[in-house]
């Protein structure tokens, strides 16, 4: 008996080895695809880092070392004030105007101080104008109202006036220091070599400027936040509402199936086409609404934050609807049944049972869709996002620019330093995305935990 069985057993063993080898092969292939994804991610990160950090050659109008025997950033407000009086006494009125003026420039010198400036004015000067103050008085206005950091900026911009004349990327800076120094010596003998991070608090908090070394991201960052806020307010209720209707109320008719199929197809339409739609509908046709004329805003352009938010909202609406539908469908039927069995109406069941249970899933889909909206550039170019504005957006009816649009613009500029700026902006954009996504995930996990107990 055992003799007859043994060849059969060997065949089984052989097959088993084969079967397990096949399993191992597949698991390796799956691992390889993950490794590939990881590699791509690392390359992406390295490219961005490469642009955002590195040596720059800075040329000063006045060498900061000649201004004081200590480094400028360690000086106190009063010492910085002395430097200012000694080197740029003539510019103090301009500095005051740039920082504190609240009247148009042409009447600035003729307006009494309390009306002209938005800072505290001693009673003795109430009737004076700016031109009637002496150097000491001018300086006191500056030192009383600016922090040490702001004073340092004033000194830097008005006296030192650093100018980036060349920049090198991170990895080149790291490994070719000698070559960079040689180039410096031959081409920019007066310049100083500084290792610089292009992402700085100043970069985030300053408005756009025409010089790569001075420009900030605040205008675009605020634009992005405004546009996304409008987009959320518009697309979340509408998308979830549509999903509730399709899943809970719509019967299985031809028209409803047609609607569903169309939504699925709309999710795949290229974003630039949504830009054209936004241009026709929001910018042109609904101009009285999107320009804010209907609430009395003096403007005749529909190329506003409102148009941008609504266009991006339309763009992500199909994705939100599809994801919300999946989440609602995943709520077990037994929960609905239990609710109906207790005498709940359809709306009570949907609102109190189905939606809370589906919310984690709905939020997950919504986060993904929103991440896409934050990074969109093409439709915003079509509806006319400004390429350069230096004032912050003030509301839904302002002209706007957004971070990805700025990145696009900066990479187009021939001036090579702007590539560093673009890389820095990418880091800011990615961090913004990361923060928003983590916030949403924490929110979602809280919901799920509450449900699962």
């Amino acid at each position: 008996m055992s003799a007859a069985e043994s060849p059969k057993k060997d065949a089984f063993k052989e097959r088993l080895v084969q079967r397990q080898a096949r399993g191992r092969l597949w698991s390796r292939l799956f691992f390889a695809s993950n490794a590939f994804a990881l590699l791509t991610l690392i390359l992406l990160a390295l490219t961005i880092i490469n642009g955002a950090f590195g040596y720059v050659a800075v040329q000063f109008r006045v060498d900061p070392d000649t201004l004081s025997d200590r480094p400028l950033e360690t000086l106190s407000e009063a010492e910085l004030g002395d430097v200012l009086v000694a080197n740029a006494a003539g510019r103090m009125r301009v500095i005051i105007r740039d920082n504190f003026s609240q009247v148009p420039n042409d009447v600035f010198t003729t307006t009494p101080l309390p009306a002209a400036l938005n800072v505290f004015i001693p009673t003795a000067w109430q009737t004076l104008t700016i031109n009637e103050l002496n150097e000491e008085q001018l300086l006191s206005i500056i030192t009383n109202n600016l922090s040490q950091e702001q004073m340092y900026d004033v000194v830097l911009n008005n006296i030192v006036q650093p100018n980036v004349v060349a920049s090198w990327q991170f990895f080149y800076s790291l490994f070719n220091r000698a070559a960079i120094e040689a180039e410096m010596a031959s081409e920019y003998p007066a310049a100083e070599l500084i290792f610089r991070s292009w992402v700085t608090p100043r970069f985030i908090s300053s408005p756009l400027a025409t010089e790569a070394a001075d420009t900030g991201l605040r205008t675009a960052l605020l634009g992005t936040l405004w546009v996304i806020a409008i987009c959320v307010l518009f697309s979340f209720p509408l998308g979830v509402g549509a999903a509730i209707y399709l899943e809970e109320y719509a019967d299985d008719s031809f028209i409803n199936r047609l609607i569903e199929t169309n939504i699925r197809n709309l999710a795949g339409v290229p974003s630039i086409i949504y830009g054209l739609l936004g241009l026709t509908v929001f910018v042109r046709f609904l101009v009285t609404i999107t320009s804010g004329q209907f609430v009395g805003v003096q403007s005749d352009t529909g190329r506003t934050i409102l148009s941008a938010g609504l266009t991006l909202g339309l763009l992500i609406l199909p994705v939100i609807i599809i994801n919300a539908q999946e989440a609602i469908r995943a709520v077990p039927y037994s929960i609905r049944e239990a609710s109906y069995g207790l005498g709940a109406t359809k709306w009570q069941t949907t609102w109190r049972q189905v939606l809370p249970a589906a919310l984690p899933g709905i939020l997950t889909g919504f986060i993904l869709a929103l991440s896409r909206a934050i990074g969109e550039t093409a439709p915003l170019i079509v509806i006319g996002g400004a390429s350069f504005i230096s004032f912050d957006p003030s509301g839904p009816f302002s002209r706007f620019t957004v971070v990805p649009l700025q990145i696009y613009n900066w990479t187009k500029v021939p001036d090579i330093e702007f590539r560093n700026v673009a890389a820095a902006a990418i880091i800011v954009l990615m961090s913004l995305l990361l923060i928003m996504n983590s916030a949403a995930i924490i929110l979602r996990n809280r919901f799920s935990k509450k449900l699962a107990g």
């Binding site: 037994s334 109906y340 069995g341 005498g343």
Partner: protein
Amino acid sequence: MAITGETTIHLNNVSVYYSNKLAVKDVTLPIRKQKITAFIGPSGCGKSTVLRCLNRMNDLVQGARVDGEIIYRDQNLYARNVDPVEVRRRIGMVFQKPNPFPKSIYDNVAYGPRLLGVTRKNQLDEIVERSLRGAALWDEVAGDLKKSGLALSGGQQQRLCIARSIAVEPDVILMDEPCSALDPIATQRIEQLMREELKDYTIVIVTHNMQQAQRASDYTAFYSIRKEAESGGVERRWGVLVEFAETEKLFNSPESGETADYIAGRFG
């Protein structure tokens, strides 16, 4: 049928169709007040279908249609002016698989009263305690009402579902195989509950377990299947009520031979 006692619900020639296909034919049956009526029969005989007509849960199935009359308090439940929401508030239901809401124990029980507009905290507290005591669950969960209903054991979950349904003080409780997903000890607990805490309710229970019907019910209705060959070799099947009697009588001296065969385990 020499059955005495007050009737809560009366079914008159009830037939149910799903998408115009006959599922149950001509059921006529009284449901006695404050008694337990069991529905037994082989799979596919329509006992659950009839049960779900009693609180209009069949309305939720697309294409379902009910002929005949179901009289509850002198009112046909399927009359045009009757709102199914109102029916389900008076005729509650416990399902086959325990299905607590993904919420706390407290919120599970308070859900029904809240639907009806009870918002005062102390009133809700009172209802929750009374209902949980009524379902013999209070002593086990009293200290931890904030715990999720899903964290309870299967038997506790089913008792939570019972507590949830009695929180709106229905007249009738329908139970659709409430013990089929439970172990014998949890099953015994539910049967005891039906006999003791729930003795003032009219209960209709569908069960696969004949011992359970025998142990727990006062009346038993036995359903079976009728078949008819249709053209093209397709078989048409529908359920019928074969016999309805006091439980003791139905199990000890059934009138129909089919009943006798079924309870003897010869088919089904």
